[in-house]
Amino acid sequence: MSTGPSQPAPSENGNQAAITHLKGSATRYWREKIIQYLLFLAAFSSVAVTTGIVVTLLSESAVFFQQVSLWEFLTETTWTPAFDEPKHGILPLVAGTLITTGVALAVALPIGTIIAIYLSEYAPFALREIIKPILELLSAVPTVVYGYFALLFVTPWLKWLFELPFLVDYMPELDAFSMLSAGIVMGIMIIPYVSSLSEDAMRSVPMLLREGAYALGANKLITSIRVVYPSALSGIGAAYILGISRAIGETMIVAIAAGMQPNLTWNPAEPASTITAYIVQVSKGELPREGPGYKAIFAAGLTLFVMTLGFNIVGHILRKRYREAY
């Protein structure tokens, strides 16, 4: 395509000469080649980044696993790498990560899905155009600010709520640091990830399907739940997966508001550390390479990477399996 027209009219000799000149121009040819090669290198650099991530995580963790058996890492129930008699059980950190993620999803998935259905099926066009960018600001707020908000606004407020006379008997006692408030705030942060992508997926469902449902006497709600939602499931699933991997990898909110003590518990009202919060706690200040913490954060990081990668792969498979082409 880039070599220009194949054969011009032979009558104009000058023109012909110009074109053969261009075609034969070595500088022109090589400049194009070199530029293409450089651009390819830029695109390929992203693969180098992934390789860098995987190789560093694996090689640094390899040293860790020479000292700690994989069995101890996965079954031991305490995580105290800095103690004199160190214990290396990742379970408390994984539990903390899963619980904060669970709380966040309990907030974000229902609210995000309802907002998506509302914006795509109910809201008038003008309203949607205003609400969408405002909601997207929720994911633009820096997470450290959310951490401040969870610790100094949401936690005191939840405490007050839980100590109301008619609730105090049913509600757990809330610590100053708790996975619950960190999780709730994290959930609100990921609402736009869920709602925006789900809404895009639902809006790409063709109108014909909706009209079919209306013709059978369905109202908007039934059409949304029984027709639009299932048809957009692959896109909605991708949105959910994105929300989950954001929640698993989220760091500052939990590091600030959930406490930093590894704590194997299933009670969200308690403080606990997550994988990410542990990494932050250890690497505050200059972390010497020889210390016990250095290898441990890479083993923890590898676990985190495997977890998010797992969810991303599941998401990829779901998307392929349930994709509906219109």
Partner: protein
Amino acid sequence: MIDIQRLINRRKRQDLFFNFLGIACTLVGIITLLALMGDLAYSGLTRIDWQFLTSYPSSSAEKAGVLPALVGSLLLMFITVSLAVPLGVAAGVYLEEYSRKNWLTTVIEINIANLAGVPSIIYGLMALSLLVYQFHLGRTLVVGGITLALLILPIVIVSTREALRAIPNGIREAAYALGATRWQVIKDHLLPYSAGGIATGTIIAMSRAIGETAPLITIGVPLFISVLPDSPFQSTAPFVNFDWLTAKFTVLPIQMFNWVSRPDPAFHRNAAAAGLVLITLTLSLNAVAIVIRYRLRKKIKW
């Protein structure tokens, strides 16, 4: 007949109910955003003054300020953007305009999608091991800049590709028909036409990078620092110097993290004030992006 009427009424009530539910859920998000900003303003607004913006951190909450953190954040953004934009745009151009559909392209594309899902703290771990300890670059501005640039690279690539894809093929074909080479088409036509879209994506990426804390803590950026990097400009020739690239630094979100983790409420007010400065920066970046996007949509009709 009565049954049908009742059924219709019930369905209408369902719809009405869901309408309210949808509005309520939307309000949850909006009210949280307002509460967050209100809380920051309530605790921090009185703390923001010239002294706060131009002072160094201090053990006394009233005397402390954000100057080194603010300067650090701005310099770091400068490095991040000057690394991520050329690399990301080049990668996007290659994938959209050059690459053929083969396994290598597929690998690169899947890889970029996965990179966007990698938690930011993992980038910090990689930078700590590779840049700080293997390459001995230290915990400097340039290391922070590289880390954040790699972090936002997928956003820049994706927005470049989307902007290029929006340009109709007729433009390319017209230029080829006049004898332009592929690179001439890209340089003289595609890049200028997609500049707005690329700028929007870059600004969104910047607003994410400026609030990013975890990867920087991981590479060991100090929680507070009381010196400024050398100025990039000097009065003698050659008028610019690059010593600042290897300076130690801290950034606004880390300064805020430092203050919020102290028990003394006086420091919490400082944290709120730092948060206000930070959120003003991110939200104004977002506002600029929204304005550009809006004007593009109005102006360009292919």
